[in-house]
C-alpha cells in the first residue's frame, strides 16, 4: 500500500520558502493552535474582534472540513484586518456584512451569528445572504486563502511541488494496487 501524505512530514519552513501566496507566513505561524472562540481576534487593528471571530465562523460554515483545526480558518480570514485597514470600503463591506448577518441571526434565534448553536441553522442564515457582495467576496477569497495554504495540502493528501523531488517517476505515479484486472 502506498505511503500517503508524506509531505506532512516535511518541515514547514520548506513550505514557507516557496509560499509566496496567501495567507502570509506570519498569519499561519501566529494562528497555530488557536480556536475560533479564543482571544486571537483581540489584536485586530481595523476590524472589531467580534467581527474577526464571526468571519472565522463563517469561513468554517462555508467550507466545513472536520479534519481541519480552527487555526486554518483563522489564518484564512486574518488578512481581512489588514485589507480593512488599507481600504475603508473593504472595512465597511465587512463590518456591515457582519452586522446584517447578526441582525438576521438575532431575529431568528435571539443570538448573534457566531453563537447560533447548529451549523445547519447558521448555514440557513448564510443562504439568506448568499447573493450579497459581502458573502460572495468572503467566499471567493476563501478559495485561495483556505485551499492555497500549503499547510492544508497534506491534510487532503495533496503533495504539492514535485519537480525538486524528481517527479513521481520513482515515487508512485503508477502505484495503484486496488484495481482488479479484467
Amino acid at each position: 500500500m502506498r505511503e500517503v501524505d508524506r509531505r506532512s512530514k516535511v518541515d514547514r519552513r520548506n513550505f514557507l520558502k516557496t509560499a509566496a501566496a496567501m495567507p502570509p507566513a506570519a498569519a499561519i505561524a501566529a494562528t497555530t493552535g488557536l480556536s475560533i472562540d479564543g482571544a486571537w481576534a483581540d489584536t485586530a487593528k481595523a476590524l472589531k474582534p467580534e467581527t474577526m471571530k464571526t468571519l472565522a465562523r463563517v469561513a468554517r460554515d462555508v467550507y466545513p472540513h472536520d479534519h481541519l483545526a480552527d487555526h486554518y480558518y483563522i489564518a484564512a480570514v486574518t488578512p481581512w484586518d489588514a485589507k480593512a485597514a488599507a481600504d475603508a470600503k473593504i472595512k465597511a463591506l465587512i463590518e456591515e456584512g457582519v452586522v446584517r448577518l447578526d441582525e438576521d441571526a438575532l431575529a431568528k434565534h435571539k443570538l448573534p451569528y457566531a453563537a447560533v448553536a447548529w451549523e445547519e441553522q447558521r448555514v440557513a442564515l448564510l443562504r439568506g445572504i448568499e447573493h450579497t457582495e459581502f458573502f460572495s467576496t468572503v467566499r471567493g477569497d476563501l478559495i485561495a486563502s483556505l485551499y492555497n495554504n500549503h499547510d492544508v495540502w497534506p491534510k487532503f493528501g495533496y503533495e504539492g511541488s514535485s519537480a525538486e523531488h524528481g517527479g513521481y517517476i520513482n515515487r508512485g505515479f503508477n502505484d495503484i494496487d486496488w484495481l482488479s484486472n479484467g
Binding site: A21, R139, Y147, G157, E159, S162, I176, W178
Partner: protein, 522 residues
C-alpha cells in the same frame, strides 16, 4: 542574438510565439527568411517555472481584461477570464497538455457529413485530410509525438489506470496513454518525462514539446529570427495599395514602435488575433483588416468541454504523473444515433487541490462541496473534449467601453452553447460517470467547463472569400501579404485537441510563404 532594424521592410513579422507563431517563425528562419516575432508576454525559461498552480497562473496566464456575454457558464463564473491561455514566449505551448491527435477525414468537411444543422454556420474546410497527411507527419516528427515514428507510448499513471479499467469494463476498445508530444524517451536534445505532474504550469523537465525551447532557440541559432518579448501589438498598418506594411506595438518600456514588414502573420490566439484585425481598422478598411466578409471574430469555437471527477474508497493520487496521458477514443466518431452530430474524446485530467477547489463547481459551498474535496486523494478525473459547432453569433467583438492599458478596445467574447453541444456534453457526463461507476466510484461530479483553453475559428478558412477570412494557406482573402497562423483559422473545431493541427498548418504555411516570397507574389 540577431536584432533587426525597425525600418527593415524585408521581414516577416509574426504576432505571437505559440504553436502557430513560434513554429512558423522557426520554419521560416530555417528556410533563410528573416523573421521578427512580437510576443506580448515575457520570456520565462524552464528553471523559472513553478510547480504551484496559483503562482504559475500569476506568472504565465493572460490576465489582461476581457469581457464576456452569452449563456455559457464561464461568462457567469469567470466574467473577465473567458480563456485560460498564456501570455509569455512560447504562448500556450508552455501550458498545453501535449495531446496530439489528427483530425478524422470527415472533420474537414462536416457541412457535407452532417448536413444543415439549424443555428450552426457549418462549412467544409478548403483542405482535405489527404492533403494534410504529409504535413501532419512532419509535425508529429518535429514534436516527437508518441505512437508515431516508432516512439513508444508514455507509461500510464494512476489516473489512467482507473479510467482504463472502467473503460474496459464498459467495452471501450480504443483506450491508451495517448498520442502525446511528451518524450517517452530522450529525443531532440530533450529528456524523457519524469512524471512530475504540473504539465499545465510549464514542463520542468523539458520533455513536453513547446515552441519556447523546442523551436524558437533553433530559429534564433540561424541568425534569421529575433523574438521580442513584452511587445504588445496594437495595430497592423497598410500602405496606399492596401498591402500591410508593418505592425505597431508597445515595447517593454511602454514606448510605441512600428516594425516594418514585407509580410505580417497574426498568431495571437483566437481572441487576440481577431481583436488585432478589428482594432486595425482604417479609412480603407473601416470594419477592420481582412474583414470584407464580416466574418472576422465570428464562429468562435471553444470545444464542447466538461470534466467528470469521481471519488473512490481508496487512494488514487491522480495528480501524480503526466496530466493528460490517457484517452478513450470510442466516442469520437460521428454517430447521430446518440442524439448529436460529431464526437468527443475522454482524456485523463487532474487539477491540484487549489485549482480543484476553484473549478470543481465554481461558486459552490457547504458540505456537498467540501465532502467532495475531502475525497481529493481518492479522486480520479477526466476531461471531455468534443466538437462544438460554429455559430455566426458566437463571436469576438471589440468591447464598446473597456480599454486596455494602451487605450485599445479589449476583446469581448460572446458564446451560447448550441443544442448539439449541450446534448453531447450530457452524453459525455453520463458515459464518463459510467466509466468510473464500473470500477466502484462512490460519487461522481459532472464538472462544468473551465475558462477556454481551445480557442478557435474567429478568422476561419474558406474556399470562397464571402464565407471566411483566409484561404487554405491562412492567407487573408482581402490582403495577400497578411496571414493568420493560429487556431483562429480553423473552419470547424473537430473533436480533438487543436495544437497538432495548428503546428501542421504552420509548417505548411511556412512552405507556402517562402515559395510566394521567392516568386515575388508577396
Amino acid at each position: 542574438m540577431t536584432k533587426f532594424d525597425l525600418n527593415d521592410d524585408g521581414l516577416v513579422v509574426i504576432v505571437g510565439s505559440g504553436a502557430g507563431g513560434g513554429t512558423l517563425g522557426n520554419e521560416l528562419a530555417q528556410k533563410g527568411v528573416k523573421v521578427v516575432i512580437l510576443e506580448a508576454g515575457g520570456r520565462y525559461e524552464i528553471p523559472d517555472f513553478v510547480n504551484d498552480e496559483w503562482n504559475s497562473f500569476t506568472q504565465l496566464a493572460w490576465k489582461d481584461m476581457r469581457t464576456t456575454s452569452g449563456t455559457w457558464r464561464v461568462a457567469h463564473d469567470f466574467p473577465n477570464l473567458p480563456a485560460w491561455i498564456v501570455k509569455a514566449v512560447g504562448g500556450s505551448t508552455v501550458h498545453w497538455a501535449g495531446a496530439s491527435l489528427r483530425f478524422e477525414e470527415h472533420e474537414f468537411k462536416i457541412k457535407t457529413a452532417y448536413g444543415d444543422i439549424p443555428g450552426a454556420n457549418l462549412l467544409d474546410w478548403p483542405i482535405t485530410l489527404a492533403e494534410m497527411e504529409p504535413w501532419y507527419a512532419k509535425a508529429e516528427y518535429k514534436m516527437g509525438t508518441t505512437r508515431t515514428n516508432g516512439i513508444p507510448g508514455l507509461p500510464g499513471n494512476n489516473n489512467f489506470k482507473v479510467m482504463e479499467a472502467g473503460a474496459r469494463k464498459l467495452g471501450y476498445k480504443d483506450v491508451h496513454t495517448g498520442r502525446m508530444s511528451i518524450n517517452s524517451q530522450p529525443r531532440d536534445g530533450r529528456g524523457s518525462c519524469q512524471q512530475i505532474g504540473f504539465c499545465f504550469q510549464g514542463c520542468k523537465s523539458g520533455a513536453k514539446w513547446s515552441t519556447l525551447y523546442a523551436e524558437i532557440p533553433k530559429g534564433e541559432a540561424t541568425g534569421n529570427l529575433e523574438v521580442r518579448p513584452s511587445s504588445m501589438a496594437v495595430r497592423i498598418e497598410h500602405d496606399a495599395s492596401g498591402k500591410v506594411d508593418g505592425v505597431v506595438y508597445v515595447d517593454g518600456d511602454g514606448k510605441m514602435q512600428k516594425q516594418k514588414a514585407r509580410v505580417v502573420a497574426v498568431a495571437g490566439n483566437s481572441l487576440e488575433s481577431p481583436r488585432l484585425l478589428l482594432n486595425s481598422h482604417s479609412s480603407m478598411f473601416p470594419d477592420g483588416l481582412a474583414n470584407s466578409s464580416g466574418q472576422v471574430g465570428r464562429n468562435y469555437m471553444r470545444h464542447m468541454t466538461g470534466s467528470v471527477y469521481a471519488v473512490f474508497d481508496k487512494p488514487v493520487h491522480m495528480y501524480r504523473g503526466t496530466t493528460m496521458a490517457g484517452i478513450i477514443l470510442d466516442e469520437a466518431r460521428h454517430d447521430p444515433k446518440r442524439g448529436f452530430a460529431g464526437g468527443y474524446e475522454m482524456e485523463t485530467l487532474s487539477l491540484g487541490l487549489p485549482f480543484m477547489a476553484a473549478f470543481l463547481n465554481p461558486g459552490a459551498w457547504g458540505r456537498s462541496f467540501t465532502t467532495a474535496i475531502d475525497g481529493y486523494a481518492n479522486m480520479a478525473g477526466m476531461w471531455l473534449v468534443g466538437e462544438d459547432l460554429p455559430q455566426e453569433t458566437n463571436r469576438v467583438t471589440l468591447d464598446p467601453v473597456a480599454k486596455d492599458a494602451n487605450g485599445m478596445a479589449v476583446a469581448s467574447v460572446h458564446y451560447d452553447d448550441h443544442a448539439n453541444d449541450v446534448a453531447m456534453r450530457n452524453h459525455g457526463y453520463q458515459r464518463g460517470a459510467a466509466v468510473y461507476d464500473a470500477v466502484g466510484a462512490i460519487r461522481t461530479f459532472p464538472t462544468p467547463p473551465y475558462p477556454s483553453t481551445h480557442n478557435l475559428g474567429t478568422n476561419r478558412m474558406s474556399e470562397k472569400p464571402r464565407d471566411g477570412v483566409v484561404n487554405k494557406h491562412g492567407q487573408a482573402h482581402d490582403i495577400k501579404n497578411l496571414f493568420v497562423s493560429d487556431g483562429s483559422q480553423f473552419t470547424t473545431s473537430a473533436a480533438c485537441n487543436p495544437t497538432l493541427t495548428i503546428v501542421t498548418l504552420a509548417i505548411r504555411q511556412a512552405d507556402y510563404i517562402t515559395g510566394a516570397m521567392g516568386r515575388r507574389e508577396i
